[in-house]
């Protein structure tokens, strides 16, 4: 398998705790003063030239947030976050709505070049083999550029930053924003509703199959800055869209906060495929620094026969708190969750999904693969709930954990609630280490230990990797190799 060799090579080039994307870019920024208050929210809203109703929406969320308590049920430990010691808005200067790439700060473009994110359409077009991907690049608090907008427009697809969408498509925003994750949903989602600064907006109209993959690339650059992005994807009747999300941040000693909200809405016969490769800075080998990733992602299969599929590869972040969920409201709708969560060093992952079956003949499938190494803790937490009226619901859940080393932990916490007799629910979970037999089998064919482990691990996660779009699958395999570096031996 070529990819495995590639992974190994990649691993060799990198020291134990070297994070490839850890560089910082010196760029002139516009920042709001530190701290959180109604004034800061007014400042953000004004910066974004938002209409009055949007500001009210934010302030309402903020007032609710003040009354809420930080959740403590997840298996993660971290010092208390001082929400007043953060910058809630940081934007590269001179990016106030660049019309074309030429107007974008060249320093910024170099960042994305370094990250390997194609922003120049002609460059993307020049590459014959790679399929085209439209990209929305979010840098700290703002969207810097969105590619292929025009071409997408021809197909009727709206792909732009959410700030633009609030100005240009207020009706759609009013109708859908907060309709899946209400402002009062949970502590972090409410905070996000108050202070979100940017994110992507996708609208695929009735009957349209989005002609290319859409992608958003998130980058946190500034110090002490929280990133709060908000993504809203709507697929109307019969529409289809595949969306990819990637993220990185510089290496820093202090922790940084990332609290995003993603809402997906699929109407009758629509399908949304959402893939994430999460590679925020995980902290160093001693557990210093790294991103706190507190994310609320939820899809609403609102229409009949609609389908939402989440695929995630989680290798970064010091703390991950993330449960991409599906509300299966429409009859015959389907939800899927495929996840690989790799933790090493002192990373803590508490992630999983919720499948809420409300409609008739709904089905869901959960495949979760957790790999823990080093001193990390990796928890799968999931819920499958079958409503009283959700007849003929089906669920299959499989969550496997793999432990590498004896200092790490792997945990499984599934909640299964069934209130309808016609439901068929199957759940299975296993935890094991790479067996000596497997390793011996591979090694005695002349493959070195590190490569043997990578090979077995890649086999372990194959079911999930297969769900990723091609270009992401390769990247994900590499990432897993890098994350596990130093755990062998």
């Amino acid at each position: 398998m070529a990819a495995v060799q590639e992974t190994i090579d990649q691993v060799r080039q990198i020291d134990v705790d070297q994070y490839k994307y850890g560089f910082e870019t010196v760029i002139e920024v516009d920042k709001a003063p530190k701290g959180l208050s109604e004034d800061i929210i007014r400042f953000i809203s004004a910066k974004k030239q938002e209409p009055e109703w949007m500001l009210e929406w934010r302030l309402d969320a903020y007032r609710r947030w003040l009354t809420m308590e930080e959740p403590t049920w997840a298996r993660v430990e971290y010092p208390k976050i001082d929400f007043n010691d953060l910058y809630y808005y940081a934007a590269p200067k001179s990016t106030a709505g660049p019309k074309s790439l030429e107007e974008v700060d060249p320093e910024l473009l170099r960042v994305y070049e370094k990250l390997g994110i194609p922003l120049r359409e002609q460059e993307i077009l020049a590459g014959v083999e790679t399929p085209r991907v439209a990209v929305d690049a979010v840098f700290d608090s703002v969207s810097v550029v969105t590619t292929f907008k025009k071409e997408l427009q021809k197909a009727g697809v709206i792909f732009m930053s959410i700030s633009e969408a609030i100005r240009e498509h207020p009706d759609l925003i009013k109708k859908y924003l907060g309709s899946v994750v209400p402002t009062s949903d949970n502590f972090y989602a409410t905070l996000n509703a108050a202070v979100f600064t940017d994110g992507s907006f996708v609208f695929v109209p009735k009957g349209v199959r989005c002609p290319m993959e859409l992608s958003t690339y998130f980058r946190i650059n500034e110090k002490n800055t929280g990133q709060f992005e908000r993504t809203l994807i709507i697929a109307e009747e019969g529409a289809y869209v595949s969306y990819l999300e990637g993220c990185t941040a510089p290496q820093r000693d202090e922790n940084q906060l990332h609290a995003a909200v993603v809402e997906l809405i699929a109407l009758d016969d629509a399908e949304i495929k959402y893939s994430t490769v999460q590679n925020w800075y995980p902290g160093d080998a001693q557990g210093k620094g790294g991103i706190y990733n507190f994310v609320t992602k939820r899809g609403d299969c609102r229409g009949a026969r609609s389908k939402i599929s989440w695929t995630q590869v989680e290798t970064g972040s010091a703390i991950t708190w993330k449960y991409p969920s599906c509300i299966l409201r429409g009859d015959d709708s389907r939800g899927e969750f495929y996840s690989i969560a790799v933790s090493n060093g002192y990373q803590q992952i508490d992630s999983g999904t919720k499948m809420i079956h409300l409609g008739k003949n709904t089905s869901s499938r959960i495949i979760s693969k957790g790999i823990s190494a080093g001193n990390s803790n990796n928890t799968y937490r999931g819920q499958v709930s079958i409503n009283r009226r959700a007849s003929n619901a089906r669920n299959f859940t499989n969550c496997d954990s793999l432990l590498i080393g004896d200092q790490c932990g792997a945990h499984t916490v599934p909640y299964i609630d069934v209130k309808n007799a016609s439901a068929q629910i199957e759940h299975e979970a296993t935890t094991s280490k790479i067996s000596e037999d497997q390793k011996f089998y591979v090694m005695q064919r002349g493959i070195p230990e590190e490569e043997a482990i990578a090979l077995i691990v890649n086999g372990f996660v194959k079911d999930v990797i297969q769900q990723l779009p091609m270009e992401f699958a390769v990247e994900a395999q590499k990432l897993i190799g890098i994350s596990l570096e130093g755990s062998v031996g």
Binding site: D406, V418, N420, E426, H427, E428
Partner: protein, 424 residues
């Protein structure tokens, strides 16, 4: 963070506090025991009964479900009944009072109230953790029970039946039982009502297996349809100890059975089997916390549930593997036949693993009777209702049959069939 600040007590909480006040003068116990009781009640008063916000009680919101608490009734004319298995030695606890004359050859039996009076029971009365509501209630109110010691190398031919019968009111019992090294015994712990009046029963069995002990412990809970049963089984397994623990729930309105098992000796083996027959408007919760705390231990857990009517069932099963507990082999499965749209079942099988060289797994299923199985029987001329009954029976009988002792299997199958005939 999980501290509950309850400013107002519910009716049931108030009743418990008042019952304590009314009894305090006559509850058995020396100074140390009374001190512990006071502290436990104080904790209960402060924390209140647990709500769904407490993770361990997520599916059994005791504050909401336990609406009222019956008065304490001490005297009641109840006679012991025939044992489940013919030839068993019966140790009866009638309306919460143990039999002072009870004796079994070769084992040491003491009344728990004497242990309370001399203070030797004080240390064991404490709650296991901050959410241990059953430990608190039982520790505050317990009056009697049996403290049993089976000497090392003793093999008991006949089963011992702990026969707990009650009419109504409140009954709080405790059974500390210690099995000496290489001893062998079968214990049947039976909780049963003799009237249909509401009763609140709390019972804690504190079981210790010394090295190499080989024990079968069966809990058969067939209380009345208005009863609350709060049971807790604390188990500690020594080196090479073997425990077969069977828990059968076929009664009660509000039932919580907690199994807290500490596998503390290398080579120890636990076989846990559960059958829960749920009907009417009952709520039954079986919560297992199983710690594999040393290397080279095995466990298997199989729980089968059948849900009828408006009943709700819960199984929470946590397997915890400690950092040094390498070579742990733990397998848990929970299967449920949900035969009604008016009831429900919730399962939360948890794994918490800190050692890498282990094989652990769990499986959970919830479904109706397989239509192909039904078809198979009906195609052979078995009418539908009968076919369904056969399949349900087979689903749970399979578990009981693992006990192998013929008389015991027959007796338990009899209980199950009778229950199913009444409810299905």
């Amino acid at each position: 963070m999980n501290m509950q600040t309850t400013s107002r007590l519910t009716a049931a909480e108030t009743a418990l506090v008042e019952a304590f006040g009314a009894q305090i003068g006559e509850l058995p116990g020396n100074g140390a025991v009374i001190g512990t009781r006071d502290r436990l009640l104080d904790e209960l008063k402060k924390a209140g009964l647990p709500t769904r916000r407490i993770e361990a009680w997520h599916y059994t919101d005791l504050k909401n479900l336990l609406r009222s608490v019956p008065d304490v009734t001490l005297v009641s004319a109840i006679d012991a009944i025939a044992p489940l298995v013919e030839g068993s030695k019966v140790l009866s606890i009638l309306q919460g009072t143990a039999d002072a004359k009870a004796a079994v050859d070769g084992i040491d039996i003491a009344l728990f109230k004497d242990r309370l009076a001399d203070g030797s029971a004080a240390a064991g009365l404490t709650a296991l953790d901050k959410d241990d509501a059953i430990g608190r209630i039982n520790g505050s109110f317990v009056r009697d029970g049996y403290a049993i010691t089976v000497p090392a190398n003793t093999e008991l031919e006949a089963p011992i039946e702990l026969q707990a019968l009650h009419a109504a009111g409140q009954v709080h019992t405790r059974f500390p039982v210690s099995f000496g090294a290489a001893s062998k015994a079968t214990i049947i712990e039976r909780h049963r009502s003799v009237t249909e009046d509401a009763a609140l029963v709390s019972s804690i069995s504190d079981i210790t297996l010394e090295d190499g002990a080989d024990i079968t412990w069966i809990i058969l809970q067939t209380q009345g349809a208005a009863d609350t049963h709060l049971g807790q089984i604390r188990v500690q397994l020594g080196t090479d100890a073997k425990l077969r623990l069977f828990v059968i729930n076929a009664g009660g309105k509000l039932v919580r059975q907690e199994l807290r098992i500490d596998v503390a000796g290398e080579g120890a083996e636990l076989t846990l089997r559960g059958v829960n027959l749920l009907g009417a408007e009952s709520h039954t919760d079986v919560t297992l916390v199983l710690g594999h705390n040393v290397p080279n231990t095995n466990s298997t857990e199989i729980i089968r549930n059948v849900v009828f009517d408006r009943a709700n069932g819960v199984f929470q099963g946590m397997i915890r593997v400690a950092p040094d507990a390498q070579k742990t082999d733990a397998k848990m499965s929970c299967n449920t036949l949900l035969l009604t749209d008016d009831g429900g079942f919730s399962a939360k099988p948890e794994l918490e693993i800190f050692a890498d060289d282990v094989v652990c797994g769990h499986g959970a299923t919830v479904a109706d009777i397989e239509s192909s199985h039904l078809f198979y029987l009906m195609a052979r001329g078995v009418p539908e209702n009968k076919a369904r009954a056969m399949l349900v029976n087979a689903f749970v009988a399979e578990i009981v049959e693992e006990l192998e002792e013929e008389k015991l299997v027959e007796a338990l199958e009899g209980v199950i069939s009778a229950w199913l005939e009444k409810h299905a």
